[in-house]
Amino acid sequence: MSNAAAVSATIALIGNPNAGKTTLFNALTGENQRVGNFSGVTVEVKSGTFFTPHGRKLRVLDLPGCYSLRANSPDEQVAVDALTGALPDEPRPDLVVCVADASNLERHLQLALQVIETGLPCLLALNMIDAAERAGLRLDPEKLSEELGIPVVPMQASSGKGVLELKQALRFPLPHLAETPWLSHATDADAARRSFVLRLCELAARRPTEDQITWTDRVDGVALHPLWGWACFGAMFLTLFWAIFSLARIPMGWIESGQAAIGKWLETVMAEGDLRSLLIDGVLGGVGGVVMFLPQILLLFLFIGLLESTGYMARAAFLMDGLMARAGLSGKAFLPLFSSYACAIPGVMATRTIDSAKERLVTIFVAPWMSCSARLPVYLLIVPLLLHENEGSWRQALVLFGIYALGTASAFAVARVLRGRLGPDPVHTHFMLELPPYRVPQWRYIGRHLADRAGSFLAQAGTLILGLSILLWALSTYPKHPGDDPSASLAHSAMGRIGNVIEPVVRPLGFDGRTGTAVLTSFAAREVFNSSMAILFRVDEADDEQATRGLLRDQLAAATWPDGRPLFTPLAMISLLVFYVYALQCLPTVAVVARESGSWRWALGQLAFMSAVAWVASFIIYQGGRLLGF
């Protein structure tokens, strides 16, 4: 929607890369922004428009982030050109807004001084004021304004605070040119600016005394300790897994009884028949087998959200850097890999922050082995079977921890080998990381994030999983076999025949045809494994119409091979778990990997490699275990 009103003036936003310039730009312009390329340069400059409270239409340019006007890089050159009017098709702006991070004025003000020296009218946007005040800084915007000779507007662009005041400060006539007292009698402009800034910060941006030990320092004394830090780290993760098995049991129980109740009700209102079977076994069983794990998945995301929100994530990256170096990666790979515990897709996309192209490729390659949340329903189905539930949640937590550790350790091992084979980088990159102060988690943000994820999880359950469950039910019901024998019926159905075909491939791994079929279906989405198992194994309790429909786990525990041997021996279950650790069963991931790595060969190679490893690892576990007498 283009406005016909004429533009009164053009203002430019300038500042260090992390000053929040773009947030301010978005807050000012909202939808009215356009990305354009200035000819001859590959750097992006955004422009947009907005209206001031006085009714004037202003055009605003978001210049590339820069540290100085010395033009050390293409970014800085564009900024300099913009201010001097040297950019093609772009006149000199009428006013420059210097966006500075209030917590880092010693550094950010240098640029502001240089901008004032250009002779353009200026305004200082003192951004991230909330964080600065929380850090104990005593800011005096009036004093700053007095000393600099330009208007100063405190703000917190991310929450919109101060944006209106900024717009109001942009009244006509525009602020007059400021003088540059620091340059008079100065031989070295850089040194003169530096001492002026330091003096100014003493006056108007006082820091709490260095000797003050903050709460953050105290906690970091433990969190970053070479020994205790790791203990903390391990303890947190163990607690998470314990919580997944114990705390989440309550809401899980509600979901399961709800499912059973609906099933019972359907049995009373509908006569026996295909539709009833579709609804109870297909829909309820299939979808229920996945939805039941929602509480545990949410717990995982809550944990991740807390880690990020409190600022602990940076400490974890710091701790992990040493370990990652042994895998040939850097601390920068930590966040993408950690994100992959939730879902490999945003993890793979997050690798864009990694400078080294080779390290990036390696990180993308191993990311799927950080067991993603889609595997949780499978793990949580099998692990309690492995250890009978009354053995206590701690053992189950340890097993789950072991599974995650297996995936992670394998990922690091492969990363190391792959990194070695790809060769060294042309430009060596180093680890540098800012550790933000600890802060109280932002519950509203976390809550919203959890609600989003729950929503999309349920949406997926209600669409993809539902659809697949219906189809799977159909495949396992038709064609029908006359007579009552449930296992013969299954064998006769389409699914049964597929199972027969698959069985030779998966038998060495300890799986029968039904399990093998379920594994195959989970290539569409890992959680579908649960749905398939629910559908494929219901046959066993068809004899017992009177009893309440047992939980899927009970059905699996009772499952047998045709000759009567129990199907899910501990060895078979471990083999199954290991398979799921390694198998890449997510086609969207393959697509994203192809896009981010720029090569379909890399993505398909990854798929082939991981499938092969899954099969071989499972084989070794099962056959090796059999040989050892398990």
């Binding site: 540290y67 550094r107 709490p208 970053l224 710091f318 040493g322 180093h430 680890f431 550790l435 933000p436």
Partner: protein, 84 residues
Amino acid sequence: MKLAGATDLEIDSALTLNQAGVGCDLRIEGVTGPGCERLRAMGFCEELRVRKLSSGRNLLCSLCGTRVALSRELADQVLVKMAG
């Protein structure tokens, strides 16, 4: 043989951030080497005060109230002096 001037002595007494002791208040004298742009970006500028918090493969230091972790190699590119 050229006699050492006052400024030469000053440079000799400068340490790298790596060599400085833990817990000391330092002032940054210079930033050199291939990582200097990134260091400046993070805030390691001349005349700013920095306190070293820990040593090791990755150093921890407090720079104008901000805690920063950086690798040993990068710390070698930061020249510091004891703050008076």
